[in-house]
Amino acid sequence: MGRRIGLMGDEAVAYAVKQCDVGLVSAYPITPQTIMVERISEYVANGEIDTEFVCVESEHSALSVCVGASLSGLRVFTATASQGLALMHEVLYAASGLRCPIVMAVANRALSAPLNIHCDHSDMMGSRDCGWVQVFAENVQEAYDWVIQAFKIAEHPDVQLPTVVNLDGFTLTHCMEDVEVLEDEDVKKFLPPRKPIYWVDPKQPMTFGAWAMPNYYYKFKLQQQEAIMRSLRVVKEVGEEFGKLTGRRYDTLYGYGLEDAEVAVLSMGSTSGTIRYTARRLRESDGLKVGALKLWLFRPFPEEDLVSALEKVKVLIVLDRALSPGAVFGPLGSDIASLMVKHGLDFKLLNYTYGLGGDEVTPEMAEKLFKLGLKVAEGAKPPSLTGYVREVV
């Protein structure tokens, strides 16, 4: 069993990286990820880890260095946020296309303009289709746990894809929590050294990053698609193994009250705690049939698990912490609408945006959402099917 220590989200990520025997870290500091980079560079400077730390002038270079290092066979980590992730954008696709099992933490933050350093998920949603496995943490403990699992998922021979661990800027990155950390030896046993399949080696010359003509390109991309779909099973296996080790079992999603809930709210990140807290209070004190569904794994989208989790739900309120300007629904809402069509689901879907640039969802707002959902379940017409939470309830 592990020890309990006080850590902020950024520190917890750095602590996990310290324990994962990472060969190289290249990152550029950006609020609210900065403390991750500071702590890791301190570990290196103090000789606590023999990780190579490469200072660069931008996030574009940071991820480019990581791609090269990963191709050489090393275990590699980087971290960023917001504008930094946007600057990495083209390299994100190179990392997944070259099948580099890099792990990155993203301290989710709004994008300019106007300038804002606070949380929303616009950064990750803007790079949604980059081909990385994408998980979202609800609290600091989960951020720590996911980083360790992320290496195991990314490096699995059936996956070989980069993986990003999202944690809400400030709400998680800068808040101290009581975190149960594993002993170094336990992490070593859980996460053996990386075994690359192909790697850069002068004794065995290979070409990495070659181009592909139209008659081949689609095959590589579809093969990549096969790998990300296989990661669904791997995420579940790794989550179960991690559960046996720590007592904290992970999966693609976490449902509360869904066995009989008529109304459920689907969310990602720290808001999931607020939603579940409110659902529990409404169930326990008022006997209301409400439930909460937290999505841990956003890519690949866990279709089958969502279909079974939503079997009994009459009204689903999907919360998107990113605006998709001009779209029908937000990114998560669109995925759920697609799921409904593909699997013939017939609940009522409401999709609201919230929390842009750090605008919080409070338990009171969550309660209003649940009560709106209950009215809709009884046949009332909602004020709108989409919109911004603050303006809807």
Binding site: R99, Q160, Y198, G209, K219, F220, Q223
Partner: protein
């Protein structure tokens, strides 16, 4: 494991496989060498982006398997010993 018969990540696992790709078929104009004018200075050999200049004892020759017909050799030749001629 994959239904696609390609190597993961588009890795080319053997060196020198580019030799199998005869890029000479891309050419629309071919360089023709006047061996009487060529003084074997090898400027064309230095400039050729496809390493398609063959060095011989007294003059150069063109490797038409790989020459894409860019014309840099003809442009750079100080003796005007290389002429670009339409293909076909």
């Amino acid at each position: 494991m994959s239904k696609y018969d390609v190597v993961m990540g588009a890795v080319i696992t053997k060196p020198r496989t580019s030799l199998e790709n005869k890029t000479g078929s891309w050419r629309t104009r071919r360089p023709v060498v006047d061996v009487e004018k060529c003084v074997n200075c090898l400027l064309c050999w230095i400039y050729c982006p496809d390493s398609a200049i063959i060095r011989l004892e007294d003059h150069i020759a063109i490797n038409y398997d790989y020459c894409k017909g860019c014309g840099i050799c003809a442009e750079e030749c100080p003796r005007k010993a290389i002429t670009m001629v339409e293909e076909g």
